[in-house]
Amino acid sequence: MGQVTTFMSDDHRRCDHLFAAAEEAAAQRDLPTCRTRFQEFQSAMEQHFIMEEQALFPAFEDATGNNMGPTRVMRLEHQQMREVLAALAEALAADDLDEYLGQAETLLILMQQHNIKEEQMLYPMSDRALSNSQAVIQAMQQLQAGSPP
């Protein structure tokens, strides 16, 4: 596996585990834990989106001369996920754990079909197209360190 594929797929797994922890707390009707876990999950997701939108996608677009193809759809799907994340936050604000679980199921499928596209195609293609993948990964690590945890 290429460097970008490994680094970014690992970050997907990190987000997945945070998602599962928050969902489990919701299923156990533990509202305070769910709130904490959800915040961790939401900020991990936002960090991941920012790494892609500000470093990986522009580098991919520069290397391939293509900004209307795969990265455009990935950005659109980030927007869709942000909307469901907002609905999750709203459900927690209203103490509505059933609504939270329903939205979480929706997000899981949306998120995973997105991850499949990235891990199966976009990341391997980035590894192939980028001549400076190490520098792009460093830029992403800096973005990750720079944004609030």
């Binding site: 997945d16 489990e24 391939t64 293509n66 795969p70 199966q120 293609m125």
Partner: protein
Amino acid sequence: MNPPGLSYDQAPPFSVPLRFFLTAPWFLVLAAALLLWEGPGIIASRWLPATLALTHLVVLGFMAQVMLGALSQILPVVVGVSIAYPRWIATLVHVPLTLGTLALASAFLGSGPVGFQIAVGLLGFSFSAALIAFHRALWQAPVVTDTVIALRCALGALLVTVALGLLLSGYFGWGGFSLPILQVTNLHAAWGLVGWTALLVAGVAYQVVPMFQITPLYPAWLSRGFAPVVMALLIIGTALILSNWPLAATVTGAALAVTLITFAARTLLLLHQRRRKIGDPTLVYWRVSLISLTMGAAGWLLTRWMPGWPPKPAVEWLLGILLIVGFPVAVINGMLYKIVPFLAWFHLQAHLLGRAKLPHIKQLLPETPIRRQGWALLITLLLLSTAVLYPLFLYPAALALGITGGWLGVNLWRTAQRYRQALANNAALDQ
């Protein structure tokens, strides 16, 4: 400019896969009606015309319907290539598949050579359209992943299955040539169940098991090696059977069974290691499916190697139940409950664009009916297996199968209704 072959176009219209998904469950109801009509006598042999009609109502009417419908949806996601002219292709595949399945079943039940001739025409047309569209897409895949390899093998196996099926139907429809019927039928079934079905399930499982259940990934040796090994064994086994070398063919068959058990056992282990701890109803379908596959493959092994346990009709029926109703029907049923409500949500989101609050997935298809229908499927499986030994159980088994299929059909239909309702409400708001 897109790099060659890469298209991230959004999914095909909802109607493209949905027509297959809404049709399929009713073929289980038809199969149940046939079982009731025929009664316990049908268990006498797997070679009775009624048994063959029943088998094809399930494998073509239910399984192939959903598998072909789902591929048009799955390929853009896992392979990055969408099908050209999706609505046309869907119509050209769906209509002749539905009518061809009915023609084939009625041909087995006594409508004679004309029935087989009609079935050859309709099914030949449907599968040709599907195979051309899907193969075209798959060989354009920009990145060759383990899933792409498995899907290519699965579609290669489908080609062999369909060719052998058309050959058999042609033999019954027109005759005029000689055919080793028994061997060709066994090969047709092996390529269909072990090649096409198991490899498609595996290719999809590599993605959906780790992603949706949040489990570790499949080990690379398995996800890379499984499909090529199965294909190689199928090819070798076919050559040995056709060159009349039965002992060597049995050894190859045993190797295939062990390979299938390895895949099923490893997947069960992954499910056991999942990080998503909440009870997901579709998890039960995966487990029932994989346990059935393990038992079916192990049963096949035992019947060939244990002295004093020759393959009897009852054993063959039991293996058929495990390898058709247990393994694929269960996992397809579970996957439909993931796919249909998600697609309804996805297309609603695209249509409504934030103008109205969207129902979430559990509102589009609540968990309670999913769980209850899952129990019905499990009971069906147990009753069918019992009926092999105690034929009178066939009547409750047939009823259970009809209830299971109808219930699945109603659950999916209601989801489609909620989707249409949400769209209609929004249109009313616009006015």
